[in-house]
Amino acid sequence: MAKQVKQLDRVIIRFAGDSGDGMQLTGDRFTHETAAFGNDLSTLPNFPAEIRAPAGTLPGVSSFQLHFADHDILTPGDAPDVLVAMNPAALRANTKDLAAGATIIVDTHDFTARNLTRAGYTANPLEDGSLDKFSLHSVDLTALTVEAIKDFGLTRKDAGRTKNMFALGLLSWLYGRPVESTEAYLTKRFASKPDIRDANLAAFRAGWNFGETTEGFAVSYEVKPAPMRAGTYRNITGNLALSYGLVAASVRSRLPLFLGAYPITPASDILHELSKHKRFGVVTFQAEDEIAGIGAALGASFGGSLGVTTTSGPGIALKSETIGLAVSLELPLIVVDVQRGGPSTGLPTKTEQSDLLQAMFGRNGEAPVAIVAPQSPGDCFDAAVEAARIAVTYRTPVMLLSDGYLANGSEPWQLPDLDTLPTIDPCFATAANHETEVGDREFWPYKRDPETLARPWAIPGTPDLEHRVGGLEKADGHGNISYDPTNHDLMVRTRQAKIDRIADSIGPLEVDDPSGQARLLVLGWGSTYGPIGAACRRLRRHGLDVAQAHLRHLNPFPSNLGEVLRRYDRVVVPEMNLGQLGLLLRAKYLVDVIGYNQVRGLPFTATELEAVFTTTIEELHR
């Protein structure tokens, strides 16, 4: 009997289990199926810092949330409509987040008295009525999986490990996902282990068939593809897009890419990714520490490479002295900070935006650097190219501030037309640039371009341009060591002026104010773009006027920012910190911006921002 198919416009699913249950893989495969189907989507992986926390405990729960829709969406969603929980701990950790009436699919296999206690339950929630407000499907997924693959000769333990594929098959049926990409993936992934491969394929198909045949699931759902701009798309995470952006900048500038890095969560995937692209001439140097990572990158920049270092907040702290040296040497350098919860070791796998002031000021002396931030996973590509453009054009370190949410979150990404990427011209110095009073031609390493204030970049191997650079103060122009007070004042101001000049090369801040009637401006930066945008859309659907703007450049700010801020009666700045951008805006523009600040290690929800913005507008009209 054909089952009923119900139309939905969007769904939020969360897969949750032990950190060893393969929930990230399950979510990733469902994402690929969904991307292939043509929905718009946004994902939020959430996992503990421990590789394998004790099984069955709350700290060990790993989850993957996916929001997909038949229309353009901006966030991984607030409250899941569906929870797949593989054990009691996964159920307990996630129930409070669910939407009213949500569907819960539970693997009952591990609901023993011992495991319930370990998860903190005093009674079995599947039986005590505490989940009555949800649509509960209690299924022994493990037993069904083991039964389905009993012919493959796997140990009970190995057989049980394929239960995530059974769950994936069931969900794939429930939402009409195309299965080809998962079957191809499993075939390739386990090519060298035919029995494991066949068991996983069988578990996946058994999950699908279970959905189709069991009476427990009377309805399946359809979420139609989302209309998107014509073009070719793929699904991409922020760390991957950022890696590709760096390779593209290298190709575009014809500068070999040199990455010096020390492994650190959540930035390591950039090191892993770039290490695969040696055919592009990309060198990856896994250094002995954070300091050596940036040191080697700066040495490579001195030699004419596109030097890059990647890290997270604690690594920036260690690299600070070398960033200062790069400011003094005035060499191109890209410093990628994939921010995570701090201070100190903080929350390694959770997201935060609390390194803005560290990026801005975290060095001795007056040591300004350019700061660029991406706003979505796919946007990490463009932000990386922009960071390279600024670094190379202005001979300066550039801080690229991603975060844990962008790094691991994913979205469909329209492949860019590479011919439209900005020009990045290293414009190496090849000849003397100064004539002395007696008519001798000399090379002056600190004689600047009058427009950009950038100094010439003469790389070793260039005849007659031999020169010495260093961290000591240099005389304007010829660059020899100088302790002259007036010269130092001039050089400090010139280095600042050079960074300020970057604003001439970036467009004005654009404000999205569809009605032109808004009195409230919401200004954000970085990964908050999604939830802020989603909240603004909701307000507008309710007939409220709200303006939204988002900063790509945090230093220097776009030239029109002060004017934009003053145009609105109220400016709200949501940040996942205690008000760092707010502090900069107040200091620079004397505008009384209002912060909305949360540091929970998770992105804002559109719902909470909607409430904040609505209240603010109500106050304005009071």
Partner: protein, 330 residues
């Protein structure tokens, strides 16, 4: 001097078309070390020795850290970087890996290399990056005006140790051999012929060469090595190492083998100095061939390009899972 150099360490560095002199390597900067500093003699030796390499001077780079010795690059008419405290080996590693056509030198001191930069030093040595590291050891902090260093003798009275240092010093040669460095030597600032000979061998070596140079600081640690410079005592105290030549200390005699794969013997020789300078080996302790880090990195790039073809950016960013939307939204 356009001859092809027989020196594997400088194999890929272009040679000069016309012979150069010491003057070609002197920059226009006034040298500002204290009068009588051993650094002057080392600078003169290096400026006199560099022309003999026959390299194009624009392909020579000196990188230093912080300290008196780290002012060295300013006085040489080559490319140079005076960097930050202890980090020169890391910076030079990036430069040497990115640029096989450069002769890369690190100038450092006992504080710079062994205290704040100790980690970078041992990792450069273990990786065997094609660099030559000149470690000026004066057994004192000079630029910060006279604190004890990680090579100062136990009990040393300094500004920061009024009752004597209770730190045990490093023996830089032992440390380098412990990191299995492929080229380790020691020489003296006062013996220009020996210094030049060791520098020549170090530059020729492909891999990380560490040359410890005993250097006198006339202000804060004057005479630290006088017993090795005094004509009457020196020959009895100095143990001259030359590969394949006999070495004799009292009754003991052996043939020095700097090419032994196992560094244990060289390490044992490095321990001959028990701190009293009764027996101080100088010369090349160890000189062995081992693939360099930078050569291997570059050969992986070449291998990847030849087996997979040059990179295609469009193909890279598209990956294997794309879909196409052919019509604009309604």
């Amino acid at each position: 001097m356009t001859t092809n150099l027989p020196t594997p360490g400088l194999r890929d560095v272009p040679t000069a078309e016309t012979p150069m002199t010491r003057k070609d390597f002197a920059s226009d900067q006034e040298v500002r070390w204290c009068p009588g500093c051993g650094d002057y003699i080392i600078l003169a030796a290096v400026q006199g020795f560099l022309p003999t390499l026959g390299l194009r001077k624009e392909n020579i780079v000196f990188v230093s850290g912080i300290g008196c010795s780290s002012r060295f690059p300013y006085y040489l008419e080559t490319y140079g970087m005076h960097s930050i405290h202890g980090r020169a080996p890391a910076i030079a590693t990036g430069l040497a890996t990115a640029r096989p056509d450069l002769s890369v030198w690190v100038v450092t001191g006992d504080g710079d290399a062994l205290s704040i930069g100790g980690n970078h030093l041992i990792h450069a040595l273990r990786r065997n990056v094609n660099l030559t590291i000149l470690l000026f050891n004066n057994r004192i902090y000079g630029l910060t005006k006279g604190q004890y260093s990680p090579t100062s003798e136990p009990g040393k009275i300094t500004k920061s140790t009024p009752m004597g240092s209770v730190d045990r010093p490093f023996n830089p040669v032992s440390l380098a051999l412990g990191a299995e460095a492929t080229f380790v030597a020691r020489t003296l600032d006062s013996d220009r012929a020996h210094l030049t000979e060791v520098l020549q061998a170090a530059a020729s070596h492909r891999g990380t060469s560490l040359v410890e140079i005993y250097q006198n600081c006339p202000i804060f640690n004057d005479g630290a090595f006088d017993v090795l410079k005094d004509k009457e005592q020196a020959e009895a105290r100095l143990v001259r190492l030359e590969h394949g030549k006999p070495v004799r200390i009292g009754e003991r005699e052996w043939i020095h083998d700097a090419h032994a794969d196992d560094p244990s013997r060289a390490f044992e020789i490095s321990r001959l100095d028990d701190g009293t300078m009764a027996h101080v080996p100088i010369g090349i302790f160890r000189q062995v061939e081992r693939p360099t880090y930078d050569d291997q990195v570059r050969s992986q790039l070449t291998a990847a390009a030849s087996t997979q073809g040059e990179g295609d950016l469009d193909a890279l960013i598209a990956g294997s899972d794309t879909w196409t939307v052919s019509h604009a939204p309604s």
